[in-house]
Amino acid sequence: MDLNTTFWFFEKIKDDNLCLLYNGLISDDITNKLIELSEYNINNIEGLSKMRKKASFLMAECFQNIIRHGEMVTDLEKHMNNSFFLTRNWNDIYCIASGNLVLKKNIHTIEAQMEVVNNLNKDELKDLYLQVLEHNEISGKGGAGLGLIEMARKSGQKLQFEFEDYNKSFSYFYNQILLRADEAPEALSISHSPISDAVYLHKKMQEKNILVVQKGDFAQESILPVLKIIDNNLKNVFESSSSKKRIFHVIVELLQNISKHCCKNQKISEGIILLGQSKKGYIINTGNYIENSKVDALRDHLNKLNSMSKEELKSLYFSKLKERYVPENNGAGIGLIDLARKIASPFVFDFHPIDNQKSFFSIHIVA
């Protein structure tokens, strides 16, 4: 992923109050963190908190489907095992989607199950549920059918689904549900966010090798759960705690900068973070609105840091470290100086003009 990827995603999801996209291995560990983060997000949006329980239940079902189906592909190359998970909120709508690889020869069976579930009314679904409970399975793979029935029952909606070709033997199976805070799902038109949007976002993440995209409020309380997920993921990826900590550090500093300096949108420190991989290492992109009046100072600061040698950065760091702390100057930019010392290549950044008041600031760091 490059610098421009940030704005691409930000534009795609610009009406979202929050958006969490995950493209990677899904394990019980990650599942719990993703649910925790989504619950946190829901609780913080007015009017959404009452659907928290339902949303969490549905998310858990999604994950269980992924994990169950995922077992079938464990023998494949690791990179093929990337599953997808999405939660988004805009207005009073909450959207949950997931995607995982399934064997092509099973598509027909899954499709048939989806048809059955989508053609039943509430009472019929309940009967089917009890029947499956009693007679165990409707699918060859333990209980996968039960999850789908439960998702349809709890959401009170038709399940949206789609298959996307992956290779000779596998396809991605995507499904999506929309929830509405006022519990009137009948009125919900799928034109709001067709499942093809989810498929498209996942494709882009795979193409750009992106693990996590999160858009939302980056005040300190909100970044803690994000950091937990990242921390957890990094633990699985890195043997050495040094590189893990270096990346964690870059993320903390960038997110705290957003929280401190971004142009607040209704008191929310709105921003986006993307975490990706490349041959050179981990890539961290962030983006946020910034007031036009602050653009020049930030650009000059970054250009200055980019032009300095490691020795010069070191002495600048120490002089800032020893300066008496003054609340007005917010740490005197020590965060970016510290980052400049830690990263291998210069900061790549851009200011994209939005209107008379603000620009979109994006920064790209290879750690």
């Binding site: 005040a219 300190q220 803690l224 050495s240 705690s241 040094s242 900590k245 270096r246 964690f248 550090h249 903390v252 500093e253 705290q256 929280s259 401190k260 120490f318 800032k320 470290l321 020893k322 008496r324 702390y325 609340p327 740490g331 020590i334 965060g335 100086i337 510290d338 980052l339």
Partner: protein
């Protein structure tokens, strides 16, 4: 005798136990509160007060997992305040514990060691 400064620690804030009576001074864990100054300034003020009747020997144990850049700056202020105690002839020293696989914490310790004038031991655990 001033009373103990104690904070139990949290996800983004370190555990602090500065207890003159038992001559224990410990700070450990994570430190990345966004409002680092709000968290550290009371502790720094506590040390200023403590310097008036400090114990003959004050030994501070630091065992960090991770801290952000603003915490790094405020830790320097904390250490500097502790260092000032030595002006009255009393002794102050710091032990900085680090995981040998963790260059991040080791490097930060080396930086403090270089800029401070009190005994500062880097100890691998």
């Amino acid at each position: 005798m001033e009373k103990q400064f104690y904070f139990p620690g949290s996800e983004d804030k370190p555990k602090i136990n500065f207890d003159p009576k038992n001559n224990v001074f410990e700070i450990m864990g994570n430190s990345y509160p966004e409002e680092s100054p709000k968290f550290y300034i009371p502790l720094i003020n506590w040390v200023t007060e403590y310097s008036n009747y400090a114990n003959d020997k004050t030994h501070v144990v630091c065992k960090f997992e991770y801290f952000n850049s603003l915490s790094a700056k405020l830790l320097y202020e904390l250490f500097f305040e502790l260092q000032k105690i030595t002006e009255s002839g009393k002794k102050v020293s710091i032990s900085w514990y680090y995981d040998p696989n963790d260059h991040f914490i080791l490097e930060k310790g080396q930086e403090y060691k270089n800029v401070l004038e009190i005994p500062f031991d880097l100890i691998s655990y």
